[in-house]
């Protein structure tokens, strides 16, 4: 029974590869080489087999091309080259055989392909000159490949690397750097074209001084030229990053058509101008240029500073996995329909899209793992994402979106308006399903009392809590009531790690009087506490004392007197933090706890280690 899903995966892989192979042949003329465009083939053993099969086939193809280039005449080819050709064939054949074997083990339907491939090679190259090959092979088999390939300084040259590896290396370079490699030598002249990724980034192409006024026409011409050069190739990833202007519309349309013709899977149009305020004209995304096949091929789309209107017969992006929308001009109805048509979506980010409305997606996004909503004015968002794991939110108020996912584990919330601590503590566990394990809160919390707040709803699975707090001078009571943050610990019975980063504007009061106590309340699982921006305020000392006293299993305690965010306003507080921390820990800390105090104010990056031996 376990074989079934495996076989299915293998069959998909074989299918996908077969398509790629056919495509490869179309574009590479009669060169019988196999090029793999994707590394995401499923089925572990299969991928390796496929790659080696491809590598082998390609290697034989290349070797044979070299041989036929020398017009088959023995005398015209130096001995060294003959040996090289022969070795390439041997290595190639071994790869094909090993690759094919993997397939026979992996899947029956691929074995058929492998046999076909072998047959084709035999038919094409080997039949007429088979004897010569055998002798060549025999003569050179004992020579190790290393020695034969030695041509000077290094054993292995860049151009000896398999084509898919070269492609990977070029894809890691900026287009400009890849193109520049064409002047290295004639062998490199067209190497950069191997990359299946094209990224046109105005500022990278013309330097940081890229100005729309001076460079835009050149940008249009140069991009156009590269597109023409790459015409007919498979380009997996096409990215354009340039500040939008009306003059670019034709070029961008060309890019989208090019993507449709080049089997592009990942398309990114990042057109955000430096100053977009008041700039209402956006690029209108040309849905009419995408045929159904292209739409079902796209896996990742990024659209920034674009407007779109869905065509009436919009059929969705059935394979789309990642969607990043930024500064999008769209009606909420169109966006809802668009999202409803992307049922395989795994990653979704919507930022700075001002829909003054609700966003309700009826169709379940059952593959969605990651959701980010940032600085959108939507009043409400409703998604059915049962498997959502990560939720990132950034807005003026706490999110009102209910995330009904039982899998939700990581949550990050940044809010710009200040919020009373009590209401945050009650609202959050309700909004987020209770399974959250890692929670980051960056909120200007107002701390109104020093008491523990009881709340009925709990973070029952929370293990890691990170609080980024901003304390303002105009609310002095906040400094005194820091102790009340302990309510978070109370609400999270399984908490293991606590991180608090204080950002203080102003001087506060770094003198401590008698520390107030809260009722004892053991945090049994708390192993790690990290506090930064510890200036030695009374409230900070109280919270520290309370947490340490009630954490019997505490292993690591880190205190940093500097603020993590490097807020320059806060650096003028007198460096009492470290002393106060030390004095309030003196008899409270367990000898088993590893204590580290970073006193970065007094001596630059000096770090002080206090290790208490048991």
């Amino acid at each position: 029974m376990a074989m079934l899903p495996k076989l299915r995966a293998v069959s998909t892989a074989a299918h996908g590869t077969d398509t790629n192979m056919r495509r490869g042949r179309r574009y590479y003329g009669d060169a019988d080489c196999v090029i793999f465009y994707s590394y995401d083939l499923p089925g572990p053993g299969v991928t390796g087999g496929l790659l080696r099969l491809g590598y082998g086939a390609e290697r034989i193809g290349k070797a044979w091309r070299r041989f036929t280039d020398a017009s088959g005449d023995d005398e015209s080819m130096p001995i060294g080259d003959k040996v090289l050709v022969a070795v390439d064939v041997v290595v190639g054949v071994t790869n094909i055989v090993v690759g094919a074997c993997d397939f026979v083990i992996g899947a029956c339907d691929f074995a058929q392909y492998a046999r076909g491939a072998l047959g084709r090679f035999r038919g094409k190259y080997l039949s007429s000159i088979e004897d010569r090959i055998t002798t060549r092979v025999k003569r050179s088999y004992l020579c190790s490949r290393k020695r034969i390939c030695r041509r000077g300084k290094y054993d292995v040259q860049f151009e000896d690397l398999p084509e898919d590896v070269q492609c990977l290396i070029f894809s890691k370079l900026e287009l400009k750097e890849a193109v520049r490699s064409s002047v290295l030598s004639s062998k490199w002249a067209n190497s950069w074209m191997i990359s299946s990724k094209l990224r046109f980034d105005g500022s990278k192409m013309y330097g940081e001084n890229f100005s729309r006024r001076y460079h835009i026409q050149r940008f249009i011409d140069d991009v156009d030229r590269v597109l023409k050069l790459q015409h007919g190739k498979v380009i997996e990833t096409l990215e354009v990053k340039v500040e939008f202007g009306r003059i670019l519309a034709v070029l961008l349309d060309n890019c989208v058509s090019f993507a449709a013709a080049s089997s592009t899977k990942n398309l990114a149009l990042d057109l955000v101008p430096k100053n977009y305020f008041g700039n209402t004209e956006r690029y209108i995304f040309p849905f009419e240029l995408l045929d159904r096949e292209t739409m079902s091929r796209l896996q990742q789309i990024q659209l920034s500073f674009v407007s779109f209107k869905l065509p009436s017969e919009f059929s969705g992006f059935p394979e789309l996995k990642r969607l990043d929308l930024c500064l999008l001009q769209v009606t909420s109805k169109d966006l809802q329909n668009m999202l409803s048509g992307c049922s395989k979506l795994e990653w979704l980010s919507i930022s700075r899209c001002d829909l003054e409305d609700e966003l309700i997606v009826d169709c379940p996004l059952s593959h969605l793992l990651y959701l980010r909503i940032a600085r959108c004015k939507m009043t409400k968002i409703e998604l059915h994402a049962a498997k959502l794991r990560t939720f990132i939110y950034n807005g003026t108020q706490l999110p009102v979106h209910t995330i009904q996912s039982q899998e939700l584990k990581d949550v990050e919330i940044s809010v710009s308006n200040s919020i009373a601590f009590g209401s945050a503590l009650t609202a959050l566990p309700k909004t987020l399903a209770s399974r959250v394990q890692n929670l980051t809160l960056q909120v200007p919390l107002r701390l109104k009392s020093a008491k523990l707040l009881e709340n009925s709803s709990k973070f029952s699975q929370l293990k890691h809590l990170k609080l980024v707090l901003f304390l303002l001078d105009q609310h002095p009571e906040d400094f005194d009531n820091i102790l009340s943050l302990a309510s978070f610990l109370r609400a999270a019975p399984l908490i293991e790690e606590l991180e608090i980063h204080f950002n203080v504007s102003g001087r506060g009061n770094a003198e401590t009087g008698r520390l107030r106590n809260l009722p004892k309340c053991p945090y049994k699982h708390l192993r790690n506490i990290c506090i930064s921006g510890f200036k030695g305020f009374q409230g900070q000392a109280e919270l520290l004392a309370h947490a340490v006293e009630n954490a019997p299993a505490l292993e690591i305690l880190t205190i940093d007197t500097a603020s993590k965010n490097g807020n320059p306003l806060s650096q003028n507080v007198e460096p009492l933090g470290a002393d106060i921390a030390r004095s309030c820990l003196e008899w409270r800390i367990s000898p088993k706890t590893k204590l580290r105090i970073d006193d970065s104010i007094s001596e630059g990056l000096h770090q002080e280690w206090v290790l208490v031996e048991s």
């Binding site: 590394y39 572990p44 053993g45 299969v46 991928t47 390796g48 087999g49 080696r52 590598y55 290595v91 071994t94 790869n95 993997d102 083990i105 992996g106 290393k146 000077g152 290094y154 054993d155 292995v156 040259q157 860049f158 000896d160 398999p162 590896v165 990977l168 290396i169 070029f170 894809s171 890691k172 370079l173 287009l175 400009k176 750097e177 520049r180 490699s181 064409s182 002047v183 290295l184 030598s185 004639s186 062998k187 192409m205 013309y206 330097g207 050149r218 140069d222 030229r225 590269v226 990833t237 990215e239 990942n266 990114a268 990742q300 990024q302 990043d324 990653w347 980010s349 990651y370 980010r372």
Partner: protein
């Protein structure tokens, strides 16, 4: 391979114990034997995973005829280091930015690992990683090679990769004309 037992932490000794029980032996082209944890091998190499699942692992040393002992030693070293490294926060949070070619930046130890390799060792390792279907190792080593080309003049790159310039002056000029934007600031 020696696995560092110095730390004495429970987690690590447990891992080492597992590795002792559960390893595969790999044989390089020149006949040297290397041991690597089965779990790490299967997780990091699609080819080894396929061989383990398919039962084609030889207890006396699985032949990897395409890989020399130096490269194989590096492969095994990488597997062991990978098994002992804790994924950093950077790896986890990498999903935050949209990236059409998801590549996780090499971690500190991975950077050190490839930095200490000689030119030949690096290229051999790339080929070995490619052969074994080790996606991450291939990514990290290729990243290193791409860095060897970044921000360098053509002459410097020729030096690094030992490339002989076979263009005439006129040919060079022609190429530069054709894609002038790429050579703008030379």
């Amino acid at each position: 391979m020696e696995v560092d037992k110095g730390k004495g932490e429970a987690e690590e000794t447990r891992k080492v114990a597992e590795a002792d029980r559960d390893t595969v032996t790999l044989k390089s082209s020149d006949g040297k034997l290397f041991e690597v944890s089965k779990e790490a091998a299967a997780r990091l190499s699609t080819v080894l995973a396929g061989m383990i699942a398919g039962g084609s692992i030889d207890d006396n040393g699985t032949d990897l005829k395409q890989i020399g002992s130096e490269a194989l030693e590096n492969v095994v070293d990488y597997c062991n280091k990978h098994a002992n490294s804790i994924p950093s926060a950077a790896l986890i949070s990498s999903s935050i930015s949209f990236n059409t070619a998801p590549f996780k930046e090499p971690e500190e130890w991975e950077r050190k690992f490839v930095d200490r390799l000689s030119h030949d060792a690096l290229f051999d390792l790339v080929e070995a990683a490619n052969f074994l279907g080790m996606e991450r190792l291939l990514d990290v080593t290729c990243h290193k090679i791409s860095e060897m080309m970044k921000g360098k003049s053509p002459d410097q790159i020729r030096e690094v990769f030992n490339i002989k310039n076979d263009y005439t002056k006129e040919e060079l000029e022609e190429i530069r004309q054709e894609l002038a934007w790429a050579f703008y600031d030379d």
